[in-house]
């Protein structure tokens, strides 16, 4: 089992600049997110000596370019090309660096911009495997492998479209109470979900995220420093990252969560029943079900029953799920989508969410998933956070 992350905490959660398209580049989103974190924490820019950054649209600039652009002098710079798994991985690596004394305060940021052609360009050249073996098959981008996973899940476990719809409809309800959710101004009913146009069957419109621009971030520091600054913070009770798990499975219906979930709960000294808030990576609802199962909220193949038994809203009696509306209702700001869940969890556990605040939450599970290289996501991650000083 991995060592504890004590006495490291996560603080200053920021969600910045979500919009459908933007004329600004990644440095602008990164700089504004950092400025908001400094404002929240009262720290001077010179106090930031580490940066962990995830972005798809940063090139031709690099993480090193950002240090010059934003006038940062650092002794730790971590690039996280892990897409939807990157937020948890940032927290984990930043916490270890601070614990070991390699940095004092690490800003962890996911940021991406968006324009009308950027998503198409990204998926056309995502990896050599997609160029050779996926894109020539009707150029459907990630919708192709996720439609295959969804179809396989439906055939194997008897899931129906309505079951996926429950997840999307509950998340839209949460988004209706979250001010930065781009689709939060629109309601979504199960019948609207069912009547939506097909995209890549069995996926229909509301199973797919809307690409957008935006950024999310948080600070990692020692608990003593957060106390001195009188900041609300959360503990990182456990975390893992996993790559290319279950490579021999014919179709991906599980990932690193099934391999490392038990160890994560042991590291955090808790069980699935202790979790009040679940923030999953929701690029498609079938992946949400895989995360529920892998993290033992239900048994493998039982997520259909789980979503029928649990309302999954921020104000439900049971565990709250994707309290901001998730990417399905906030929008997918590239790699920032991999930070959306952990930043929202920090906000919830420090009681600093808005109208979507969960009542007195103690523990949150955050899961990540990313990089569909060909037919499956190669990166997965998860963390358990607990309320700190609130």
């Amino acid at each position: 089992m991995s060592d504890s992350y004590d006495p490291i905490v996560l603080t200053a959660p920021v969600t910045f600049g979500y919009e459908r398209y933007s004329d600004h580049g990644v440095p602008w989103f990164t700089g504004n997110t950092l400025a908001a974190m400094l404002h929240l924490s009262g720290l001077d820019k010179s106090a930031i000596d580490g940066l962990a950054i995830a972005s798809f649209s940063l090139p031709p600039d690099t993480p090193a370019s950002l240090t010059e652009y934003l006038g940062l002098e650092l002794r730790l710079l971590e690039a996280l090309p892990f897409g939807g798994a990157s937020g948890v991985i940032a927290a984990r690596r930043a916490a270890r660096a601070v614990q070991a004394g390699d940095a004092n305060v690490v800003a962890c940021i996911g940021a991406d911009t968006s324009n009308p052609s950027s998503f198409g360009d990204l998926i056309a050249n995502f990896s050599t495997a997609t160029m050779d073996a996926s894109y020539p098959y009707a150029a459907a981008g990630p919708n192709l492998p996720f439609a295959i996973m969804t179809a396989a899940y439906m055939e194997r476990y008897g899931a129906k479209r309505e079951d996926f719809g429950r997840i999307c409809v509950a998340q839209r309800y949460n988004a209706n109470h979250c001010d930065y959710a781009l689709l939060g101004g629109k309601t979504l009913t199960l019948s609207q979900y069912m009547d939506a146009r097909p995209v890549v069957e069995p996926l229909h419109l509301f199973d797919c995220v809307m690409p957008c621009a935006g950024a999310d971030g948080f600070l990692v520091m020692r608990e003593a420093q957060a106390r001195e600054l009188q900041l609300p913070y959360v503990y990182l009770k456990g975390a893992f990252e996993s790559f290319n798990a279950f490579a021999d499975d014919l179709v991906q219906l599980r990932s690193g969560w099934s391999k490392h979930g038990t160890a994560l709960y042991e590291q955090a000294h808790m069980a699935a029943k202790d979790i009040n808030i679940i923030e999953t990576y929701d690029d498609y609802p079938v992946v949400v079900m895989m995360q529920f199962e892998g993290m033992q909220l239900c048994r493998e193949g039982q997520a259909v029953q789980y979503v029928q038994d649990n309302e999954l809203r921020f104000d439900s009696d049971g565990p709250a799920h994707n309290t901001s509306g998730g990417q399905l209702s906030v929008g997918q700001a590239g790699a920032a989508g991999g930070f959306l869940g952990i930043v929202e969890a920090i906000r919830q556990l420090t009681n600093s969410a808005g109208a979507n605040q969960v009542k007195s939450p103690m523990n949150a599970l955050v899961t990540g998933f990313g990089m569909i290289n060909y037919d499956r996501g190669l990166c997965s991650s998860a963390a358990i956070l607990s309320a700190g000083n609130v």
């Binding site: 056309a124 050779d132 020539p136 098959y137 459907a140 981008g141 295959i148 055939e155």
Partner: protein, 145 residues
């Protein structure tokens, strides 16, 4: 048919597409351990030998799952759809995506073939029992200018 690849591919991917474009069903295989290398690559994912050769292999396979693409990100697929695509477990030991004539249930036995897509590039198709090669090929030929 075009005599060049119209989409960007890796070097091993371009070599495979050229072979498939000539109507030959062959795939990259490791000469050391024999494993099929798909998606195409120049080093074996099992034994790390870099002696990879495009050669004939078993054409049989079973559908893992299939889907229907209504929304494509490339202009050349915007017309002529929707496109049925299947994920197939090859008897030769790899997972391939392939064009199919219609959605097929998991477990359906198929034969994998080489076809030319809308742009003339060589790609993989799969035929279930009763499916004609020409019917699958014609799905693309119809849309050539």
């Amino acid at each position: 048919m075009s005599d060049r690849l119209s989409r960007p591919r890796s070097i091993p991917g371009a070599a495979l597409s050229a072979t498939l474009g000539d109507g030959k069903f062959e795939l990259p295989c490791c000469t050391s351990c024999g494993g099929v290398q798909y998606p195409p690559r120049d080093i074996c994912r099992r034994c790390l030998s870099d002696d990879i050769e495009i050669r004939e292999c078993n054409r049989g396979g079973r559908v893992v799952a299939s889907v229907v693409v209504h929304r494509s990100f490339a202009d050349d697929f915007e017309h002529g759809g929707p496109w049925a695509i299947a994920s197939i477990e090859m008897d030769a030991g790899s997972i391939v995506f392939a064009h199919v004539l219609e959605p097929l249930r998991g477990g359906t036995e198929v034969t994998i073939v080489a076809i030319n897509d809308v742009l003339g590039d060589g790609v993989l198709g799969a035929l279930a029992e009763g499916h004609e090669f020409q019917a699958l090929q014609d799905k693309f030929s119809t849309f050539h200018e």
